[in-house]
């Protein structure tokens, strides 16, 4: 099956009780989400993202057109037993405890009691809510409710995961964990449809995106292709001496290329996570969700540990691992990032400036780091297009690596 989700001229209009004020929420949508890709549905508020999901899942009837999920109709139990769905808010039964909530959804999938129990414990551990598993969900903070919401969407080991604004209400750590989880699930062959207006989230995890506006797809394509500036080059090097910098500038001047030099700035997300990780190492007490890095440790794949973690995740999604196994992994702490290297080798710099052969220098050539502004710029371009202004030139340059992989490296 090439496509996990396919829509054909999907249209949804609605009007008031008297048939007036006809509004087009989705307009002839032809969406194709390939199997095993992370697809992002983007758009400003009211662009029809959530309505699209509701129609896909059979919660709304399309006015026209058809939606096919996993080769069938989403209201067919044979199909929707392979789908996991996290709505825009978690919409949980507030009187049930976290454990009961997962048990209830597990029962709907007719999971045998033993399997259900194992999966519930594994999921509770994974989302860091084991300590509050017997508390009513109604007393949870929004972020904690979101974690349970995510856990319920995974209880059936879905082939297709539909996530509507998965990171709303989550702290940066939770956001990062969900993003890591999405990437890990994608590695395991799942298809993920992510619906969000948080551009950073989408950019970090999605293979392809579609931008909706007014119920129509404005742009669709590979994230890298859409965002890459092929007319610019970025070189990342270890710390350089002022003399070396001068030489580089001169060299570039000879090539008649302009350049700006600055030290790389950490993303606030990374900085925040490091601070909290340090606090956790000192065992500062908290009443909130126990963010012990289960998701990142559990799912983020280090080369040597990848096989072991994959086995654990496989266990989780098939029968569920033992709680001890999970605990063993979850107790590992993230190591602080290594400090920047000392001054680079002068000799290396000299060779570079002598135009002898750049490959020996430890450099990383990648797309410009200003990716987020680029995406915003893209949104601006669309708005410009809608307003009838000329579209700036978009040059595309294919990229082989998944964006998240470089993020995790």
């Amino acid at each position: 099956m090439e496509y996990a989700i396919e829509t054909f001229s999907l249209t949804k209009t609605f009007s008031d009780w008297w048939g007036r004020n006809r509004v087009v929420a989705i307009d002839n949508l032809n969406l194709k989400v390939r199997t095993n890709e992370v697809f992002g549905l983007l758009g400003p508020n009211g662009s029809g993202k959530t309505t699209t999901l509701k129609v896909l899942l059979g919660l709304l009837h399309p006015t026209k057109g058809k939606a096919i999920l996993l080769g069938g109709d989403a209201t067919d139990p044979q199909i929707n037993r392979r789908i996991g769905f996290l709505p825009e808010e978690s919409y949980l039964y507030r009187y049930l405890t976290a454990r009961e909530t997962l048990n209830f959804y597990g029962q709907l999938f007719k999971l045998p009691a033993k399997v259900r129990k194992l999966r519930i414990e594994a999921l509770l551990d994974m989302v860091g809510l084991k300590a509050v598993a017997n508390r009513a969900v109604g007393t949870f903070s929004k972020g904690m409710a979101r974690r349970i919401g995510l856990a319920q969407s995974l209880i059936n080991d879905p082939d297709l995961l539909i996530l509507d604004e998965p990171t709303t209400g989550l702290d940066p750590i939770g956001t990062r964990q969900i993003k890591d989880l999405i990437l890990e699930l994608a590695k395991r062959g799942k298809t993920i449809l992510l619906c969000s207006h948080l551009l950073a989230d989408v950019e970090d995890v999605c293979d392809r995106i579609a931008i909706l506006y007014g119920g129509k797809v404005q742009v669709e394509g590979d994230v890298h292709e859409l965002l890459q500036h092929s007319d610019k080059t970025e070189i990342i090097a270890d710390r350089l001496s002022p003399a070396a910098l001068e030489k580089i500038k001169r060299l570039l001047a000879d090539e008649q290329a302009e350049c700006t030099v600055s030290s790389p700035v950490d993303k606030l997300e990374t900085f925040f996570i490091n601070i909290v990780a340090a606090a956790q190492q000192q065992a500062v007490p908290t009443s909130g969700a126990e963010s012990k890095w289960e998701i990142s440790e559990f799912l983020a794949a280090k080369p040597d540990e990848h096989a072991r973690q994959a086995a654990i995740l496989d266990q989780l999604v098939s029968a569920g691992p033992s709680a001890d196994e999970i605990a063993a992994i979850s107790t590992q702490q993230v190591q602080p990032q290594p400090a920047p290297s000392p001054l680079a080798d002068e000799d290396l710099l000299r060779r570079l400036t002598e135009q002898a052969g750049p490959p020996e220098l430890k450099t990383v050539v990648a797309q410009p780091t200003q990716a987020k502004p680029s995406l915003e710029q893209l949104g601006k371009n669309i708005l410009d297009e809608l307003a009838g202004r000329p579209e700036p030139d978009k040059t595309q340059n294919p990229s082989a690596s998944r964006p998240g992989d470089s993020n995790n490296a």
């Binding site: 929420a25 959530t50 899942l57 009837h61 139990p77 949980l92 959804y105 007719k110 119920g215």
Partner: protein
């Protein structure tokens, strides 16, 4: 079934944990014992027992009915309003299974609560004679007329078709039949029905100094040593000054007297003085019944009364005899209440499947109220009260709709338990199946259909 059960259990948790049921449960737990201790009725032990069981069961039935309506409507509409359906209905559960699960949850909760409260009512009723000082006569009365289940027989309907034809022809010839009635089949039928009622009533009336004979054909009593009870209520043309009617009753096989010879079965006679418009009873030994099951009751309107005495057609005079135990009757009466709760649960789920919470609750309360006064409503809209085209419109529109309404007033548990009337299994099955199959099932199917095809989410753009 697995999914239905999961939703049902979740529904029970919802109703209990959100304390929807708490008000009703606390109220009943407090009120029932207080009523048992404080209710005096007419001062006798019998009166206390009757009023407790009547008010206790009615109150339980009413509060559980309200709980059923609120809980069933809430559980469905809140799941839609608070959008839990988004996560539930995208799981492998059919929508009809979801609705059936909700229904099952409410019905199971009802069953549990009804079991609890009827057990409390039963225990208090059974214990009443032990903590109330009553003399032997009162204890005997309670034993014979309350802690029992008695079959009730109505007098054989006399054949009045000849009289009816005669009367109708006479009126028509005299030109007293209203214009158009003879030509219109519906109007004619209604007119003749009213005429038949009047003739029947005339046969249930005794003028001063005259006798009125009421015959029973099929009195089957297994034990001739037991007692029969004649239950009656007087209606009068003119109220006597002390509101009492003096009477002489003769009960037995009066055919023996007409034929002459020795009496095979005894004939009993007694003089009485009874309050008008109130149910009264007297006891007669069962050996008065002839072998073929015949029994005649003669009422003499003694001249002292100075008014015509009428026995209302519906329940003016009945013959009762012990046919089962109080406990068995009580269980069946409770089942009757349960049938009512099932109807209400289905009605509430039906309303909740397409209406918002307040509107659905109001609709259910309206139907519940109408079902509780179905007799009055049927009479008010009755064919007799209107004529001509209005009658025709009523006949084809409103009447079938009213037919869908259950008749809670005619199926009240206290109607059986207060006079210790037998509610037989067959009668229970008949009433239950009419309510469940004809009135509940179509509503249930309709709600499944509506919920299966409606849009669950709202478009928000």
């Amino acid at each position: 079934m697995h999914s239905i059960w999961a939703v049902a259990v979740n529904t029970i948790k919802q109703v209990i944990r959100l304390k929807i049921a708490a008000v009703f449960i606390v109220l009943l737990l407090v009120l029932l014992p207080v009523m048992g201790l404080k209710m005096t009725g007419d001062g006798t032990l019998m009166g206390r027992a009757q009023s407790f069981i009547s008010y206790g069961l009615s109150l339980t039935g009413l509060l559980l009915a309200l709980l059923t309506i609120f809980a069933a409507v809430y559980t469905l509409t809140s799941d839609i309003k608070d959008k839990q359906v988004y996560t539930v209905l995208t799981k492998p559960i059919r929508r009809y299974q979801f609705v059936l699960g909700k229904l099952l949850g409410v019905v199971l909760l009802d069953a549990g609560l009804l079991l609890l409260f009827s057990a409390i009512i039963y225990t208090i009723t059974i214990l009443l004679p032990t903590f109330i000082k009553a003399d032997d006569a009162q204890l005997a009365q309670v034993r014979n007329e309350f802690f029992t289940a008695r079959a009730f027989l109505k007098p054989a309907e006399p054949d009045i078709s000849y009289e009816l034809d005669q009367a109708y022809d006479k009126l028509r010839q005299a030109g007293e039949v209203p214009a158009g009635v003879n030509e219109n089949p519906i109007a004619r039928r209604n007119y003749r029905k009213e005429l038949a009622r009047r003739i029947g009533l005339r046969k249930r009336a005794a003028v001063v100094g005259e006798e009125m004979l009421l015959e029973f054909d099929n009195v089957r009593i297994s034990d001739p040593n037991q007692s029969l009870f004649v239950r009656f209520k007087y209606d009068v043309a003119v109220n006597p000054p002390d509101l009492q009617i003096y009477s002489r009753w003769v009960v037995g096989d009066v055919r023996q007297v007409r034929l002459g010879g020795t009496l095979e079965t005894p004939i009993y006679s007694m003089d009485r003085k009874d309050l008008i418009r109130t149910f009264r009873e007297f006891e007669v030994p069962a050996d008065a019944v002839a072998r073929d099951g015949y029994l005649a009751i003669t009422f003499l309107n003694v001249p002292l009364n100075d008014t015509v005495v009428i026995f209302p057609l519906e329940d003016g005079l009945e013959l009762l005899y012990k046919a089962d135990t109080f406990t068995a009757n009580f269980i069946r009466a409770v089942l009757l209440v349960f049938v009512r709760l099932i109807f209400l649960a289905v009605l509430a789920v039906f309303a909740g499947s397409f209406l918002s919470f307040p509107v659905a609750v109001l609709l259910c309360l309206a139907v519940f109220t109408m079902a509780n006064m179905s007799g009055f409503i049927t009479e008010s809209f009755g064919e007799e009260s209107v004529g001509g085209n209005v009658s025709r419109i009523y006949y084809y529109s409103l009447k079938p709709l009213l037919g869908l309404l259950p008749q809670f007033d005619k199926q009240a548990a206290s109607k059986f338990l207060v006079p210790a009337r037998l509610l037989s299994w067959s009668l229970l099955a008949k009433m239950g199946s009419v309510t469940l199959c004809l009135k509940t099932l179509p509503l249930a199917l309709l709600s499944l259909l509506i919920f299966s095809y409606r849009e669950i989410a709202k478009v928000i753009v």
